[in-house]
């Protein structure tokens, strides 16, 4: 039971490195972006894990519930905005990938690098 308290952080670490692996090992640019999105989600998970407090509830204050514990609102605010910024950045990356596809005819990193060396 004591060890289960760390399970969320272990999942954070594992999901983070899965995303990192996709970014460094995969040659396909869309796969890299998916990896980046996974990496980002792992960070969100870590922040939200920190906000949890035992016996607490979502930080919406109820009338007449004195002594009620509420989870920490600050990490939630940070991650709420980060999710929206994340999708904007993903869209920006995808737009660049679309233009790369139009310029090179491929989205495989190895082929793009080859073509760059030839010219």
């Amino acid at each position: 039971m004591e060890l289960l308290g760390y399970f969320n952080y272990w999942v954070f670490a594992v999901v983070l490195v899965i995303g990192f692996y996709a970014v460094i090992a995969k040659g396909n640019l869309i796969k890299k972006l998916l990896g980046l999105a996974i990496f980002q989600s792992a960070v969100f998970l870590m922040y939200i894990t920190m906000d949890k407090i035992e016996g607490g509830t979502a930080p919406i204050i109820q009338d007449g519930a004195d002594g009620q514990l509420y989870s920490n609102p600050l990490p939630q605010v940070l991650i709420l905005t980060a999710i929206v910024v994340g999708v904007s950045m993903t869209a920006m990356g995808l737009a660049l990938v679309v233009r790369i596809k139009e310029a090179y005819g491929t989205i495989e990193e190895s082929v793009i690098l080859e073509e760059d060396h030839r010219s």
Binding site: V15, I18, I38, L45, N72, P75, T90, L96, S110
Partner: protein
Amino acid sequence: MIVVVFGVFLLTILVVTAVAIVRTENLFVAVMLMSIFSLLMAANFFILDAADVALTEAAIGAGITTVIFLGALALTARREEAVSSGRMVPLAVVTVLAMVMIWATFDKPRLGDPDAPVHQHVAPWYLEKTPELIGIPNVVTAVLGTFRGYDTLGEVFVVFAACIGVLFVLSAGGLRDRSKEADAESIGLKHHLIPKVVGRLLVPFIVLFGLYVQFHGEYGPGGGFQAGAIIATGIILYALLEGETNALRALPRRVLLGMVVGGALLYTLVGVAGMLLGGNFLDYSVLASDPVVGQQVGIILIEAGVGITVCGSLLSIFHAFAAREAS
């Protein structure tokens, strides 16, 4: 106890899904799995008492991101080429990294520990002072809107800048020929009667729910970011059913761009209005004679600005991808 078991179960599926996303060579499957991954993540956030974040992740991660990825896939490639060489080094690197990080987690306070340092700093102050200073129940909205208003303003401008960037990158050359599109539309449509009828029925309710989330954000989970994404989802559904041309007739690009700029401008102007009335930048308590009412007016106005910007930029991004010709 049961919540812990459920959380462990969900997190395990999360890891399996992440592995499947990286392993599959079919990019279409990978994007669909990414949508499932986001939904699982939203469920996890909900278990961890973060209702606002769960709503955002479900609307944006599982909804909008998938649509944008699919739009990009249609323009690029469906499959990934198999990489033959050099898999061992990255695998070794990430294994070592995972080991180090798991080792480091033992220094962290365990899940739900009330004595964790993060619960000792400013959070108790926010929870204690929000009813007194702002007078709204949802502390997340209060922190987002006033206590950390600068931060949110910055995020809105990041969304704004990303939207403008996507429009710049995708607007040069290669736009789809309008006459060809009319042909393609008439072929596909006769098979889609049922989705069209049901979709038409649902679009108003989705937009209505978005408005509820927007204006109920002070009292329950919700706010501008979520509402903007939900309303954008409804309009994207309309565009998928009726064709992009009809959606653009209803909400032209100029209007969308106006929304992107106008929302950010509204947020800034509320801040400037505070300065003109003798307070600091983004100090809403001077907006009305009663400081608490002033704070509430300020929060409603800036949440509206956030919602307008997010909705406009997500729709602009969608249309930018949809308007390009596949090469």
